[in-house]
Amino acid sequence: MMIFLVAFTKYLIPLIIQLLVVLGFVFTTVAASQYLGPKRKTAGKLESFESGLDAVGNARVPFSVKYFLAAILFVLFDVEIIFLYPWAVNFKELGWQGFVEMLMFIVFFTLGFFYVLKKGALKWDD
């Protein structure tokens, strides 16, 4: 029982104080900006922001599943390319061993890309 009490005062009370401060800060700032800030509603301001273009139609329309495939493939290859950066930074230190390892990585990677191409995953209209 004593141990719990000690643990409570030692670890939990500072945590609870911090939690209260954090929550208090968030609510205070949001409420303050709501009440103190000026409000001027114009048609242009209330419109959803679409990179400067006027929004057309509803955002919730079905669109082709091919976009998902393209997006997934993009993410996949993009993430793999990130591995090239640390290699490029440490190019001299890693030397030939690093070069061969990276070459293997890129070969596998290219094999995958070639497979995707051959499989017709990037063919847009069929």
């Binding site: 596998f108 094999l111 497979y115 051959k118 499989k119």
Partner: protein
């Protein structure tokens, strides 16, 4: 290690053979590649690449389990002709995924580090999620894939949290370091460590479909294409138990924090599996529940953790997967092709194809644990070493469970031998199919006659 590299190259090769339309040579290339990997793994004595990091350790049990995995996978591949029509377009994808998944299985039974254990489980599971859903037009297959994926991801969360807690308590992922810490602390391990071990066991018991975590198994086994179900109920189960027994035996020589847990798990798994299996009408679901029950028997060996646990689980897993291969092979040959799933579809098989019926009967008797089959010795060794270490209660429950299991295995045998068949479809079974059915039956009886020979592998 060389076996893993061979298999990786084989997987990529299979994908490429597929897109360049060499579909005829697909199966021979796979079987050749698996043979090469088998030989490389069986003769692997020095750990060339992984030794210094202690990431993967190919010791004798790892080699035995790995060779078993490759052998059974080859058996599954031999069953594919005639059973992959649903996926003719995506055949090489499923084949490639199966090989990649096998790599994960081999990592799971040879890990020396918790990171490689996690990596192995993920490499095994992620292709499986896709394979389960590979019957793309079938709603049940999609449902199964979704269910398996969501629950599998959840279980992986438990596993990872467990690994994180073990790391937090011991400061290492390395099995040797963890074991050393356990020895020096002599039971005074921190509670984090015990919680971590428990969570890790939960994650692994999900993979082997042990009882409170088994709810995905029947639906997934039922919904997946039967060839994938065969793979899951054999290879995935062996890999899961290989990982479990390696964890309980390899890392912590004398720790019983998980005693209570595995005790409850084993009893629940056996009882639920067997009793629910008696009520099933669909063969696939019945085999799914029976595979849950078999997981329960193998959990006894995990619970009564002795030096013999490794070899006992190996023999049991070997016997069980041989019988499973035969049963799924027969089921695919005579019922699954015609979209039949009921036990009635086995009616009168002994008249139409007596040899196959006898093989199926031997496989069922082996699953039930009747002597001169491998299944008998699988059960015998597990029960005997449990009694040696004074675990009487669990053995009694297991024996009662075996009696229950006899009921639904005999139901199938009665259907085959004593009932009149109604459908007169003339079965044309591919030669490779026969090869698997007869080969596995022969091996099954051979192990039943000379069970000691398997012990020498360890």
């Amino acid at each position: 290690m060389s076996a893993i590299i061979t298999l990786s190259v084989l997987g990529i090769l299979v994908l490429y053979l597929g897109i360049f339309n060499f579909k005829k040579v697909l199966l021979p290339v796979i079987l050749l590649g698996l043979t090469v990997a088998f030989v490389l793994l069986a003769t692997n004595t020095g750990n060339v690449l992984a030794a210094d990091m202690h990431m993967l350790v190919f010791d004798a049990p790892a080699r035995a389990f790995g060779c078993l995995l490759i052998l059974i996978t080859a058996g599954v591949f031999c069953l594919t002709p005639g059973n992959m029509e649903y996926a003719t377009k995506f055949r090489q994808d499923v084949f490639g995924l199966m090989i990649f998944s096998l790599i994960g299985g081999i990592m799971m039974i040879s890990y020396g580090n918790l990171i490689t254990l996690f990596l192995g489980i993920e490499t095994l599971s992620i292709p499986l999620y896709v394979m389960v859903g590979s019957k793309r037009s079938d709603l049940k297959s999609n449902e199964a894939a979704m269910k398996y994926f969501l629950l599998g991801a959840f279980a992986t969360g438990f596993l990872l949290l467990g690994i994180a807690l073990i790391y937090g308590a011991t400061g290492s992922f390395d099995f040797r370091v963890i074991a050393e810490q356990c020895l020096t602390l002599q039971g005074n391990v921190s509670s984090w460590f015990e919680i971590g071990v428990l969570l890790l066991l939960i994650g692994l018991s999900f993979k082997v479909s042990a009882a409170p975590f088994h709810f995905w198994a029947p639906d997934v086994y039922d919904g997946a294409p039967t060839i994938v179900t065969t793979y899951m109920s054999t290879v995935v189960k062996i890999a899961g138990f290989g990982a479990l027994v390696r964890f309980t035996r390899g890392g912590f020589p004398d720790m019983h924090v998980f005693g209570q847990f595995t005790f409850i798990l084993a009893i629940l798994t056996m009882t639920i599996g067997n009793f629910v299996a008696t009520q099933q009408k669909s063969i696939k679901r019945m085999l799914a529940y029976s595979s849950i029950a078999h997981a329960g028997y193998m959990l006894i060996a995990i619970h009564c953790s002795t030096n013999a646990s490794l070899v006992n689980i190996f023999i049991y897993a070997f016997a069980y997967s041989l019988a499973s291969l035969v049963m799924f092979g027969v089921f695919m040959a005579i019922a699954d092709k015609y979209e039949l799933a009921d036990i009635d579809s086995f009616n009168g098989l002994s008249k139409k194809n007596p040899l196959v019926a006898i093989c199926a009967a031997i496989a069922l008797l082996s699953m039930a644990g009747i002597p001169i089959t491998a299944g008998f010795f699988g059960k015998y060794y597990i029960f005997a070493s449990a009694i040696d270490s004074n675990y009487f209660l669990i053995v009694i429950i297991a024996m009662l469970n075996s009696l229950v299991s006899l009921y639904y295995y005999l139901k199938l045998i009665i259907a085959m031998f004593f009932k009149e068949g109604s459908n007169d479809v003339s079965e044309k079974i591919p030669a490779l199919h026969y090869f698997v059915i007869f080969g596995c039956t022969a091996l099954n009886i051979l192990i039943g006659l000379y069970p000691n020979n398997l012990m020498m592998l360890f």
